[in-house]
Symmetry: D2
Subunit: 444 residues, 4 copies
């Protein structure tokens, strides 16, 4: 009895090594992308630590507790090395990464100035962008032509970037704004319908979808950091499977939703009831401004609201979780800049129905929380594709507010189950036993 699965569960297939350069291209060169790029460069120069990144800092326990085998993930799994990363971006605003980072106001001068030389060289390519999908932003650095033409131009951008930088592989991580709410329709049902809609510049094809299509066509993994529909449609899922491309999304799980997927599982673990959960956010960055538009907010709200029901399963626990109130508000409040703040009031119910309250005030920093996720998703997506995994990467649910899952499955929102899934997937891919925390052998 080992407290772990046996060898026959293990994957045998070889994983291609992470040789050569890996290009990371981000649609969006705003607060998140520049904080990500600045941080990686700063780490490469030995000026800071990649805090918040599992690929760089986390260990993974292998075998029994008393085996004392806990290598760093990056020593256990063949990931691209930070020194091999090359960065590029698209943005409707033509600022280079240094200028954009200064405007974003996330990083302080003492962190930006030492790498100004590097950041200044990163200039955004022309974006596939339309104001009607993100009404609060206007930009001049944009592509023209039909949606199909823009998508083809994006493919060319990827090929050019790869060639100019000598990249072996490229991944895309969406770091741009939340688009207005779009539902999957017939235009997204098949590859053919999708491409016809691109040809017709159909409005159901949002700009983010053009990036996703281009990425898949070029064989690049795509990770979706916004709640936009993007790849979560049959046409692009099918295309990714055909092309052997790894996809994941949607919406980086930072700040309040991250906390929610920590506390809700804790409450449920103890079978405490929930009468209501009120969440409000104040933020003053471009993201806040974009979400001040009700159409963009709806996309975000859908992403944020789904979390609790899936974790708490009211259908299975009606006495505890049926009919709770769940209110989520986001308010544009300029004094805070990127320093998003959340306040949650949670009305819980205990033994014999007695009410209690938990209030969580989170003074966070949006881009500081998101940046390491960009890094991890880029490296893990690249790794997954080299390991032969294609389509939805459910094991990366850990990073998302609205994880994509196979049709018919509920998304998993519990951060700790997501973590177990992620780590057991790594163990499995590398031929190690899975961990179940049984551990009865110590008390035989």
């Amino acid at each position: 009895m080992t407290g772990s699965s046996t060898a026959q569960d293990r994957q045998a297939s070889p994983i291609a090594p992470a040789t050569g350069k890996l290009g990371i291209l981000t649609p969006g060169l705003g607060a998140v992308a520049t904080t990500f790029i600045a941080g990686v460069e700063s780490v490469r120069r030995g000026l800071s630590k990649p805090i918040g990144s599992l690929t760089q800092m986390a260990t993974i326990r292998l075998g029994k507790r008393t085996d004392n085998r806990s290598p760093l993930i990056k020593d256990f799994v063949p990931l691209a090395n930070l020194d091999d990363l090359v960065f590029g971006a698209w943005d409707p605003i033509p600022d280079d990464a240094y200028t954009a980072a200064k405007k974003a106001g996330v990083l302080e001068d003492r962190d930006l100035e030492p790498i100004k030389d590097f950041l200044s060289t990163i200039k955004p390519m022309k974006a596939a962008f339309e104001n009607k999908y993100v009404t609060r932003i206007n930009g001049t650095n944009v592509k023209t032509g039909s949606k199909r033409e823009q998508a083809e131009a994006l493919r060319q951008d990827i090929r050019d970037f790869k060639a100019q930088n000598g990249c072996d592989r490229v991944v895309l991580v969406w770091c741009a704004s939340t688009e207005i709410y779009i539902k999957a329709g017939p235009q997204h049902a098949t590859i053919e319908a999708f491409e016809q809609a691109m040809d017709a510049s159909d409005e159901a094809i949002a700009p983010s979808m053009l990036y996703a299509w281009a990425a898949i066509m070029e064989g690049c993994a795509f990770a979706n950091g916004a709640p936009n529909l993007t790849t979560d449609v049959p046409a692009l899922l099918e295309l990714a499977n055909q092309k052997g491309v790894a996809l994941s999304g949607k919406d980086f799980k930072t700040g309040q939703t991250w906390m929610k997927t920590i506390i809700a599982p804790g409450m449920k673990a103890r079978m405490l009831g929930l009468a209501g959960w009120y969440s409000t956010n104040i933020l003053g960055n471009r993201d806040g401004e974009v979400l001040d538009d009700p159409a963009s907010f709806k996309t975000k709200e859908e992403s944020k609201l789904s979390v609790l029901h899936t974790i708490l399963q009211p259908e299975k626990y009606p006495d505890l979780y049926e009919g709770f109130s769940h209110v989520v508000r986001i308010n544009y409040y300029p004094p805070r800049g990127d320093n998003k703040e959340g306040w949650d009031n949670i009305d819980i119910v205990g033994w014999m129905g007695y009410p209690m309250q938990i209030k969580v005030n989170f003074l966070c920093r949006d881009s500081i929380l998101a940046a390491p996720l960009v890094l991890d998703l880029a490296l893990f997506s690249d790794f997954a594709q080299r390991a032969g995994m294609k389509g939805i990467q459910e094991w990366l649910s850990f990073y998302y507010k609205s994880p994509m899952t196979a049709a018919g499955l509920q998304p998993e929102h519990d951060l700790f189950i997501q973590q177990t899934k992620l780590k057991n997937t790594l163990r499995h891919l590398m031929g190690e036993d899975q961990i179940t925390h049984l551990g009865l052998e110590y008390y035989a």
Copy 2:
């Protein structure tokens, strides 16, 4: 590939059924014990729900996600039925359970009055109690004689209770106060030394140890709801192994520490650093008064402080967790009565070292959170013993601030690992596959 362990990990040995009556004896008939008893009776009469109790309300997933097998734990595992429970208690204050509950002020009249008849019949037996171990309490309903004589009297109490109530089995759950801080010494090293110390009324033998010794000698499982040393000494562990008795402890994990073992794993899952964690509590019940004595507080503080280091592993993650400040304060503040309130300020560190803050304000109810734990521990301890498990029940770590573990092992404080351990233990004992959340089969 099943995302779970295989059949050879499964336990085959039969578990004795839960037939007949189960006596639950609590040292202490104060806020926690009366809330527990009142709640069980109220549930038996259909007046309330046993919210917070895993044995009564939780389900357990068996097999694959898509198997849709999630029975209630109580339908899966042979636990004693609520209708078969009989209650008894010891307390230095002679109030019956109804009077004690009224004084405790936890439950409202609308919940107490309908079961006054029942509660009034529960009168505490004379306690083994000495004011010097709990300086803020004085009581008249106490045993006299040497420590050995008191311990023998406790054994007789247990036998009498069993006979008078026709119990098949009895378990003890400590629901009394925090004693002054005691370190394990030579008096606790062996069974012989322990019994000699009892004969000599040695001051190293705290009253709680007399209950534990009596319970073990009578073959009764013992669960320790306070941070007192009690059974966590070689002498009593050895005795329990000899007698086939299940032990668990120490210190019910409610309120602030429960939250801490939810949030710290969440922070660590994401590899965010910690600069400091300041926790303060205000409470106005007897517990608050007892902890206003520095000697009792020290016992509690040790229990509360250990949690973070074990979860965060600063030795493994020096860049993230070395040298954080951890301050825990408890303040006696009468306006609140049993409605304990905690305020935590958590200084976390993100990408490139940027600081963020989380503040948690928990308006909880001490006894409401503790009562279902008493029930679960009584039922699971009884079950464990019937399943042939003896000595430390590490799988019940889920319920404790300072889990007892085998020598040489670190206690596990992460609530979610504790939960996995508990559920996988149940699966294992009942011959089911363990869950690893791998789930790659859905994406084959």
Copy 3:
């Protein structure tokens, strides 16, 4: 030098004594009105204290600090006695005061049951009510006919109530819902225009105005507890001056705005700057439901937003207060019922521009805070009218979110200036020196 004004500032004119019964009629018999009535009756029976009421509990310092003259206000000023109060109400929902109080869920059974006999006798008269002004409420207990006819019927109600109860005097205090936002127009410019608009059932004449017109015509003081425009129009101000009627309003200052008018003056006293103030509320009572309608919320929001600018005077202190963000949100959140909760985040600025934050979490009870205001306004309005004061009672600004003031004056929002104004007005009316807190005489 006395630290106070001299005798020539004092009023000489006699004040009519408070003989006979005083009728208090409230449009609205919901949470606020029933809590008010239940409380007064409970105080009369010696069952509770009128906490929160200046007329019942506050003292007023007279003369020098060392004179030790601080009588209760009610012993200093001739106010109606609680035993002389008689209650009546109008409401579109026909529940009697006991039933309405039970539904409101503010008071617990232990406070309601002992006075059930009394409350059950108070049945609401038919209301002048139209759903279009308060869209979330529907009621059957309503008057019909043109607006003029309804207004005349209200006058008849007042006369009948006075006769049936043998009242010497009657005052009206608006305790009903927030109406949709209405701006003063030509219909409110003159008495004639107003009455013609009533005849025409013009939609600019909201139901609350009918009550106000009826009250003034009957010589009854009117206090406006909602942000509705009501008496704050030239026509009704003129009519009140003609009829010698005392008016005050608008919108009871409870909860969050009360706190705001405490903290903002404190910040300004110290010349600390303000970058932003974010206020959110959660409440689950009828008020919350009504304010969930954007049109009603607009009325309330106007009332809540004006407070800060008037206190902070950005035009006078541009370096400190120009351009701060002020966001106010109200969210309907059923779990809380009447227990409204506010959360404020205040971004302040100190020496050399360094930012600091104040966060205020107020777990309040809406009707508990409003009830003593109803009492004070009824008694002070009655007193003012007996003292020959008519039209706007600026000295009662203390009780309102949007104090009515003479044309050309800024409303005063600072709670402490409001308090000084109120108390110095009482001193003045009773011929006592005003207090200036100079007090240099002690250091001569």
Copy 4:
């Protein structure tokens, strides 16, 4: 009727003009003093604003509201100009002001570097210091000899500073640490006893008293920013009156106590009851370290606890304020540095005894709040002395946690009464009417 006092209340005596240079000497050159000096210099260079300073930023209303006369205080009252200020200090640690400011970590480099030249020239004189009065600090830059000899050396320091800098006048503002708790004894009863005790180096004479004695002997006003006893003894009060010296103290009112004296008056204004007030602080600067010593904490605690009783007057309002719990805690918590944080939980009581809660979380900056107080106290103390005011300056209570008052008077803690007192004193001294906020003339 003017809503103000009449001319006979006005002071006629002339006030000496603020000609020449004013020296400001601070015992202590730590976080507070360096933040103060850096700020003044920064303001003089046009680099920042003196936010938080009444002498620099506040206006004062004169006459009727509609007179629109609200000059800046500094344009109304003859105060020393910022350009005429000269700075000096004593400190047991020999760091110059630039080095000390860097170590304090209050101001950021962008604010310190531009004035490094200036700050570097300010080097502390040898301090009268003894480790036994401030146990957590050790310093080498200290005077030797008997207490009398040290005091005489301080007088010589003052004379030298005055001569070297060509100062017309000098004031002292205590900006150093909290000393251990000392009660007034026979050594402080008369000038003679005090001086004999200095001769004998009696331990009842704390170092702070030596500074105060030296200041008074040299005719310098003394403002006491710590809770130390210092000048609050008969001997030094008598000496100050003899020498015509203005005194004020004790303990700068910043942070949590400042908030307390805002909120408590607000609660009392509305006659809401208080069941308890729990205050906790976390801070990580030198002040926090000093207060970690129980003897220093006791001095501070006395200062902090007195506030509520004096404001709320439980003897006058037993139904509201008798027997409330008041707990104040200060915790040394290094992650925060100078960024002190307070958390208050306030249990208030409303209508019919219903409980409510207010929670205030104040993320403040200790020295940022204190620095403008140093400036105001220096300028106002100098002004007062020029205006012929000597001994206790009660009108400066506004700035202190424990205001000094004439024997037999209660200190005034209500921030708003303190503000009225301060402003009416200025009006009085300058021959203007006092403001009473009556304002009935607008409604004649």
